[in-house]
């Protein structure tokens, strides 16, 4: 019903951008999950088939993708908890922006060790 001619981008702040992030990561995870269930289902077909597909994941490019996925999940999870606190904790709305910085802080804290380990494994090659 809105025939507003497109204007500039709305300059929202923490709340809006965290929501954009939450939405984008949510959809990304969802599509990954679809694929992930399908590939895991190959275990039902035969060990060879499963291993063949999983083996193709074991290259640096896929490792980067996986890292991105984990980054998305971690952000979505922590921000999800932030959203829940906004909804149920009395002071949630007041501290929403601060909590977002907390989410980002936690995200860094989790991602740094993970990336170090994950990428070093990926690039040095296991086996």
């Amino acid at each position: 019903m809105s025939k507003t001619p497109a204007g500039t981008l709305y300059r929202g702040r923490e709340g809006m951008w965290s929501w954009v992030g939450h939405r984008v990561t949510g959809v990304a995870i969802f599509f990954f999950l679809l694929v992930h269930v399908l590939d895991t289902a190959l275990v039902r077909v035969s060990p060879d088939a499963y291993n063949a597909v999983i083996a193709t994941y074991k290259n640096p490019f896929m490792a980067l993708l996986e890292a991105g996925l984990v980054a998305a999940i971690v952000f979505h999870a922590f921000n999800g908890l932030r959203v829940i606190l906004i909804d149920f904790w009395k002071k949630g709305p007041k501290y929403q922006a601060k909590m977002l910085w907390g989410v980002i802080g936690l995200w860094v804290v989790v991602m740094v060790p993970f990336l170090i380990r994950h990428l070093s494994l990926a690039f040095t090659g296991g086996h």
């Binding site: 001619p5 709305y10 709340g15 909804d87 709305p93």
Partner: protein, 263 residues
């Protein structure tokens, strides 16, 4: 010159005013570029940006700049305004990308080295330039039954209400129905069907009024596909509200009230 005592002392009959106190010197003037988004279907279906170079003064607001444009440059620039000091809610618009009241936004608080952009609020049909159709907005407002409903017999004098009960909904009584909140809400932009924060704020004002007996009905109305559950806590509304109403908090309280009633 400040009195140190807490006792209200009689102020001095005469004091030395520091030079420049109360705006002693020259009123600073500065140049700005105002970019106004223009749209007039009588002329063209296309919207466009018009730029105006203006010299403005110390305490001028965006509304003053718009007036200068309308009164001295282009009389066809159209926008609503009335009170000019932030109490009537006529001139919510998007200034440098954010919803504000033009009459409450001082030019000197904006970055005047870049053009200042002014656009209509988002999500409501634009009628002309900065004027949008407010009817969908008021429609949502009317739907939440924004009036006191009380059963039981009318007292002869006033209904009693403790100061604490009165305080409970104070924040949401401040709303001037300017639509800055609703038109800043990304969910409202999508299809315009969401009730929007302003309607919820005004429902809140009655739901938490101890004199009102129709809270359940309002909660029922807002427990709708287009009701409170569509809010994704993006806080644009709280940040846009020129009255400083804690809009998202009010919405959270209404959500809790619906939950508590149902469970």
């Amino acid at each position: 010159m400040t009195a140190q005592n807490t006792e209200p002392v009689e102020p001095a009959s005469k004091v030395d005013l520091a030079p420049g106190v109360g705006g002693g010197g020259e009123i600073p003037s500065f140049d700005i570029t105002l970019k106004v988004r223009r749209y007039n279907p009588e002329v063209s279906e296309e919207a466009r940006w018009d730029e105006f170079k203006l010299t403005m003064y110390g305490t001028d607001r965006v509304l003053d700049a718009l007036h200068k444009v309308k009164w001295e440059h282009d009389g066809s620039v159209s926008f609503r305004r009335s009170c000019a000091h932030g109490v009537c809610g006529s001139d919510a618009m998007r200034i440098n990308g954010r919803n504000r009241l033009a009459c409450k936004t001082l030019l000197k608080d904006l970055d005047t080295s870049k053009p200042i952009t002014v656009e209509p609020i988002k999500g409501l049909p634009v009628e002309k330039d900065l004027i949008v159709d407010m009817e969908p907005f008021f429609q949502s407002y009317r739907e939440i039954m924004p009036f006191l409903i009380s059963s039981g017999h009318e007292p002869t004098r006033e209904r009693l209400q403790s100061p604490e009960d009165r305080e409970r909904f104070d924040d949401t009584t401040k709303c001037i129905l300017c639509a800055a909140c609703t038109s800043s809400c990304p969910v409202f932009w999508t299809d315009g069907q969401y009730f929007g924060p302003a309607a919820i704020v005004n429902a809140h004002r009655f739901i938490f009024d101890s004199r009102d007996d129709a809270g359940d009905m309002r909660l029922e109305i807002l427990n709708d596909r287009e009701g409170v559950w569509r809010c994704r806590t993006t806080f644009n509304c709280s940040e846009a509200c020129p009255r400083g109403i804690q809009v998202t908090k009010a919405i959270a309280e209404v959500k809790q009230a619906v939950l508590n009633r149902r469970i």
